[in-house]
Structure formats: structure tokens, C-alpha cells
Symmetry: C2
Subunit: 229 residues, 2 copies
Amino acid sequence: MEIIEHLAVSQLFKGLPNVHLEGLASISIKKSYQKDESIFFEGRESTGFFIVISGRIKIYKISPEGKEQILHFFGPGEPFGEAPAFTGDPFPAYAEAIEDTDVIFLPKNEFVSLIKKDPSLALNMLVILSHRLQKFTNIIENLSLKEVPGRLAAYIIYSGGNENDASEFSLDISKGQLASLLGTIPETLSRILTKMVKQGLIDSDGRRFIKILDRKGLEELAEGKRRLG
Amino acid sequence: MEIIEHLAVSQLFKGLPNVHLEGLASISIKKSYQKDESIFFEGRESTGFFIVISGRIKIYKISPEGKEQILHFFGPGEPFGEAPAFTGDPFPAYAEAIEDTDVIFLPKNEFVSLIKKDPSLALNMLVILSHRLQKFTNIIENLSLKEVPGRLAAYIIYSGGNENDASEFSLDISKGQLASLLGTIPETLSRILTKMVKQGLIDSDGRRFIKILDRKGLEELAEGKRRLG
DNA sequence: CGTGCGCTTGACTTTTTTCAATAAAGGTGG
DNA sequence: CCACCTTTATTGAAAAAAGTCAAGCGCACG
């Protein structure tokens, strides 16, 4: 598959006319990373940004004690690392492939030149960045206003889809990673999951399978109207 | 002072040629809010965004139990509420004036039309949004990776400026608001502040005056290398 | 078939919140 | 200018939540 085709289906560039896609393709560089390989480091100078072609990556921070907080997961079609490319600041976090991953790299300077010529491209980027901001707003809300059971409940509800039926799903990340995403540690996550099963809120095979049994109860947890005890 | 002059000195539009400023001014609406007056509400439809002329506002979320998490403070020259204007999503948080405040309101549709004609305007917005994203990255890091003493230490160091001398300053917000900004409650903040004074890290008059006595100690706290006990 | 990594569980410690009472500060009206 | 009232800040004691440390289990993979 050609780079230009990947660009054409990416969040950032979908809907752009072919002329612009060609311009973008001409500055694009394809790169590959293996599972667990680093893509960029916190503090490093940004020279451009990325779009995932295939595979998955995570963006995360690490505390001095070694605790990891995941900020994002990104998969095919999603761009990452765009913000520092515009501010000129160094990367504010780490990026690492969590599967074998192919990406397109867009060098900063060339990209800014293109954007200066094309408002619609810029508008797309504005929408994307605004969405990221929304997402962060939610993460912050969760971290500061909810206890861990509430965060987990919110995650489960979100992952289970909105339907009342079909409320079964499989975690697409490991429990350790989920703990980090929720701003906690695996032990705490494990205990809470156990309590949820005991209280009949969910069913679980102990592995990645989860079935929602009491959606209303989960919602109450997420809204802080209920405790796990 | 004319609207166009305010626009010319705002973060978002500074450096723009006069033609564009005039276009912006022609769609701008000036509004005033009193201290503690609401500007927008979480969940409401966004019809445009704002730039502070004078005064100050806060953006915050509220949990079902009534706990407040402040996301931003914005003062003169700073835009707010831009993100939902691009995504079309409703406001993700509340905005409220914390002083008597004048703002410029820019209606969404008119603004998007302007941007479509002017890439440089869009580029400025990209930089601003990217910076916001960076700021959120830090907030998330602080909330999830640091204990409250660490967050407070980081806040004090930041507020005290980088110089080794002149390390005195006055909090520009109430302690209750500071607690919310740090993702905690006033009682906890008060206790930690007391400990910091007792341990000789800072001096305080019990009101808003704070003097940094042991910058290195504060840095160790912020980095999790030290406990307050 | 053993080794390893991810996950779970238990006991214990630390941190933060809750609840309640008090104190101090700021603003208002007489 | 002072008394009063409301808001904001502090303090203590107790409870709750989350994290640490350590041990053990089980499934996957070589």
C-alpha cells in the first residue's frame, strides 16, 4: 500500500484533495518499530510527528519512582507527537510501540511549509488537537474527581459500548497497562475487579473477558453515588 | 480601547496583518461578567469562543459530590473555549469569572469562515492548542504520578520564578482554589503548607505571602525523592 | 517440563479524605 | 469605626482509600 493511500485514510488528512495528499506524501518517511521499541523520549527535541499505519503505540510519562502513567494509545490512522512539532518544545512524554508498528514520519519544517499554503489542512489539525484536549479534560476529571473504582467503572462502560445487550467485551490491553491508564497500580486494579465480580456488577474469566451484569450499578460507581465498600 | 487593539495584543492574533485583525474585529462581540458569574456550562452547545480583555476566569469540572477540579485560569490576552468551537462538541467544563471580567466573544461560524481564508491565523491557533495540550500533559502527570506535597512543591517553584534570589511571591489565587488546582481539598493543602514551614522549606505569613527558603528541598519533593513525613 | 511474566492475594503502611469544631479575615451596614 | 455576619483557613481525631512489600499461582513459551 502506498504512503499516499495511508495518508488518505488517516484522521488528519482524510478528505483532502489529491494535490495536497501528494505534497504530504512527498515529505513523508516510512519507519518501522518492533514491539517494545522506543519511538521518542521525553525531553528530546521534536523534529516532526507521526501517523500510525499499522500496529499500536502508547504515549506515557514516568515518575522518578518508576511509576508509569499512560496518556494515550494510538492505532492505525491516528497521528501522534503533533503538538511539540508546532510549539517547538521538546517531547513532553515517551512513545513506545506496544506491537510491531509501521508509521509515517512527517518532518516538522516541511510540514509547516505545507500548512502555510493550505487552510483546510490546518483546520483538520485544529479539530484533531481540539479533540485531544477534550480527551485530556476527561482524563483529568477522572484522575482528580473519581476514585479508582469509579474510573474503572467508567472505562468498562465505555468499552462495553452503549447498547444494553452485547455488553461483553475483551480488554484490548493488558491489565497492567490498564492500571497505568487509570492512574493506579496492578494490585489495586486487581482487588477492585475482584470486588466488582463479587458484587455482581460484572463477570470475568480472570483474563481479558468482561461481561457487564449491572450497568446501572457501574454507572453509579462512575458517578460517585456508590461505594464498593 | 478598541476591540481591534485588544485583538492585536492577544496571544492568538498577535502579529497578524491589519486586514485580518479588521476581519476579526468585525465579528467580535464584547461581553462583561461580574465576579463569580458563569460564562458557560458543561454540556452546553458551543457557539463560539472567548478572549479575555481584563479580569480573570477559571475553567473547572465538578464531580457529583461537588468537588471542583480547576483546569485553567485565564487572564488578559488569553483565549478560552476554542476547542469545542472546532469539534462541534458541547463545552466539556464550566467557565466562571473570578474577578469582574471583560471578554471578546468570537462566533464560531464566522470565525471558521475567516480561518478558511487565512492559514497564518490557523497556525497561531495550532500553536496555542498545542501548548494547552502540553499543559494538560503536565497536569495529568502531576495528578497521577505525584503526591500532593510534590504537586504543591512544583507549584511553588514555578510561581517563585527561576531565579535563586527574589524567591518570594504572593499567591494570586485563594488557598481553596489552589487546592482545587492541585486536585486536593483545602484541609490537606493547609496541613502540607504547615509542614513545609516547619521543615524550613518555605516561609509564609499564613496568608498569601510565600518565601522559598530551601529550593533544593522543594525540588526533591517535586521529584518524589523526599517525603514530608 | 521448567522458567518467566503477568496477575492475584494478604498483611501492613502511608496518604488523603471526612467530619467537626474553631479561628481568623473580609465585607456590610449602622 | 465598630459590631456582625459570611466566607476562608486551620487543626484534630478517625476512617477510608490506595500504595508497598512479599509470596504464590497459572498460563504461555521456549
